[in-house]
Symmetry: C2
Subunit: 432 residues, 2 copies
């Protein structure tokens, strides 16, 4: 846990309390701060006698060799990048738990059949380059390398001090910090026996039920869109409502409608980015672009929400500007599609047994109720590793279920529990 | 009219047609393009034997002397700055008509009692520095000089290529282009006998009734606000709607409500600028700022809309986040307040008689119906001059009533009519 906060010296974010670790994080993928923590990670892993490699997406793989060199290592992975106003646990915990596992294995002199690796995946958040989990996606050969390399950074985020002033692509950003490795980014070049990931829940279920460990069995589906609403610039003071094609007014109605429709189908719909042009107090905006993030337990539900919103947004656009015969139009672009995922039974079993064992060690009466199976609301690199190798995840509680917020917090106890569970899960898997 | 397009070479904006003049304008106040057109304006007026002075707000006064030097000149004024996606007529027409008037007087060897002046007022649009008519406001001693000098440019507009990358203040921008004059900006230092202004209507009344001239008797009231909605950043994928304090969702509801309330009271309410932070696809925005422009024929109506919206916005904010006991909050800042204005009877009479005469010259049967009295929906520098000296305005029709849009257009005929009416109005006023 002290290492966790140590690693947070690079990219400390918004301060929310007086304590030395009472700040959030702002460590956008491939920023200078990300470079610093990567350098530290590599140095640390080398000191722990791991072999370190970096691939074309900047993914860093550090492997502690096992008895056999002819079988792939079992990996513990997560990410060191954060949201622009992120916290100290999302992703970071997963990599730091991996380091702890390797340290502990070294301390105990534990030998494994295959190697045990720790991986830092690049740009998991999708906050700087707008595809989440993009680098595990390339590794899984689900996202083409060129598409990922050409991704442009999000302008709203680019305006933050940590980012460059002219928009970078992922490739130029990788080059800039010296992390464009030469190993092909693929599960074929860097094979894994399995992938385990420990993460804060980022939701309220564990913490509100006072439970310690979530055995993650599935991840909900999500789709990310960029939408453009095209209306007509005009004067705010001289243009009657019925003569407007106000793209921002259309947007406002769309956002209200999106929540209505998503809620009616047990899904979520959220807008994180909005940009209205030309951006003048007394000009009705003629152009608005915004992001739309739709999620739901089943892929089909997300598709249904999308379908209904496509119809509804068209109707909203058509009504705004109808009076002048020049209604608004709306265009959709799909940036990212992540269908619902079910994790691998073998990995889930290893986690389940390890969680029971760790919680039992804590000698609390009713251990069973301290562990629950859970679905992840957020995406994780484990989503993409699961396409190629057996995968599952471990959740620990976080305060108020809050994440993507500077005050994101998990107790040191819970972090240690998470690390202990993943250590046991890896060992169990290795012995299978 | 050829001069008008000549002056548009500095700051040409979005192209909408094939013709050489088929572009809009993007000449933000105090940009390099604004400097170029100012330099041209001064050179032109000096060549026409006018005396030119520049005050502390960069207002440029060019006076053609009259017989008497002990009485103030009668001024024709408007502005050369534009919206970021503006057209070739808004403001520009008024200054160029002034130049035409001086040229014609020189050509005819016309002597006037007092002098006749042309003034280019700085930052009328309020697009770059968010108070419209700010420099005539300082001249009228309605806005303190220091307040105007310290105004910061709007970030959304500042990101345009014409503006600097770090936000400028009005004072620094004036200095940068060499237009921080040393004459005090005040009606006491630069007195006027009267102020006349010709402008495109920017609305649909003249053009749709096929009328040629609007005798402007009044200007509607408006208020500009900046609002902040403070909610809570959180994860879009793991946070149920009832656990959110989504500042952007609150904004969307507010914008929808603003139109409802304004419409019910015969007013307008518009949002031109919106900024959501942190601006990440998968973070629910915890902070949104936006502009709100409320207008109505009477000052009291605008106040009523404001009052109702303050209540409604509080209610919207209180509901979003109530589930977590941390509802959104909304804060209002008044940037600018322009009460309704009635112009001066003497000036209105001069314009009325001149308009009738010009239209009669055009030898069309029913001249009366070609001229109408009209209220201005937009603010103009004449609003502030009217606080200190007799003032009125002349409107000419514009295509589709469209303004603050690149395709803004008035026919050359209508522009000439406007210039002829203002010439006569000035002469009539001088003879009173
Ligand atoms: N865990 C996490 O926040 N991942 C980012 C991708 C997502 O938005 O779900
Ligand atoms: N005429 C004009 O567009 N003036 C700008 C001030 C306003 O918004 O009314």
């Amino acid at each position: 846990a002290s290492d966790l906060h140590h690693s947070c010296q690079w990219g400390s974010g918004i301060r929310w309390g007086d304590g030395p670790t009472d700040t959030g994080m702002q460590r956008l993928a491939l920023s200078q701060d990300d470079k610093s923590v990567r350098d530290w990670f590599i140095q640390t892993m080398k000191a722990l006698k791991c072999n370190v490699t970096v691939d074309e997406m900047g993914n860093i793989f550090a492997v502690r060799p096992g008895r056999r060199s002819d079988v792939p290592a079992t990996f513990i992975g997560s990410h060191l990048d954060t949201q622009p106003t992120g916290g100290r646990y999302d992703g970071i915990l997963g990599v730091l738990a991996g380091i702890e596992v390797i340290k502990t294995m070294n301390d105990m002199g534990l030998e494994t059949e295959g190697g045990v690796g720790v991986v830092d995946w690049t740009n998991e958040e999708g906050a700087r380059f707008p595809i989440s989990m993009v680098s595990s996606g390339v590794w899984a050969e689900c996202i083409p390398l060129a598409h990922a390399h050409n991704l442009k950074e999000v302008p709203t985020v680019a305006s933050l001090p940590t980012a460059a002033s002219a928009p970078e692509t992922m490739k130029s950003a990788l080059q800039k910090i010296g992390y464009l490795g030469d190993i092909p980014c693929s599960y074929k070049s860097t094979p894994m026996a399995a992938h385990f990931e420990v993460h804060i829940e980022q939701g309220p279920y564990l913490v509100s039920a006072n439970q310690r460990v979530g055995v993650v069995t599935a991840v909900q589906a999500y789709r990310w869109f960029r939408l453009n609403v095209i209306g007509r610039d005009t004067h705010t003071g001289t243009t009657a409502f019925e003569h407007r094609a106000d793209a921002l007014y259309a947007f406002a109605q769309m956002m209200v409608r999106a929540r209505e429709v998503a809620a009616s189908k047990g899904c979520l719909a959220s807008v994180g980015i909005v940009d209205a042009k030309p951006g003048s107090v007394n000009t009705v905006p003629g152009q608005v672009s915004f992001s739309l993030d739709i999620r739901g337990p089943e892929t089909e539900q997300v598709a249904e929400v999308e379908k209904e919103l496509r119809t509804d947004f068209d109707a909203i656009a058509a009504a705004e500007g109808a009076g002048i015969g020049k209604p608004c139009r709306v265009e959709w672009t799909l940036d990212f599609d992540s269908p619902a995922v079910k994790f691998h039974e073998d990995c889930i079993d290893c986690v389940q047994q390890s969680a029971q064992a760790v919680v039992a060690d804590a000698s609390i009466a009713d251990t069973k109720s301290l562990v629950r199976t859970i679905m992840s609301g957020a995406g994780h690199d484990s989503v993409f590793t699961s396409k190629r190798v057996p995968t599952s995840m471990i959740f620990i509680p976080c305060k108020g279920g809050l994440s993507h917020h500077p005050e994101e917090f998990s107790t040191a106890d819970d972090c240690v529990t998470g690390a202990s569970v993943i250590l046991q899960a890896v060992v169990r898997y290795d012995r299978k």
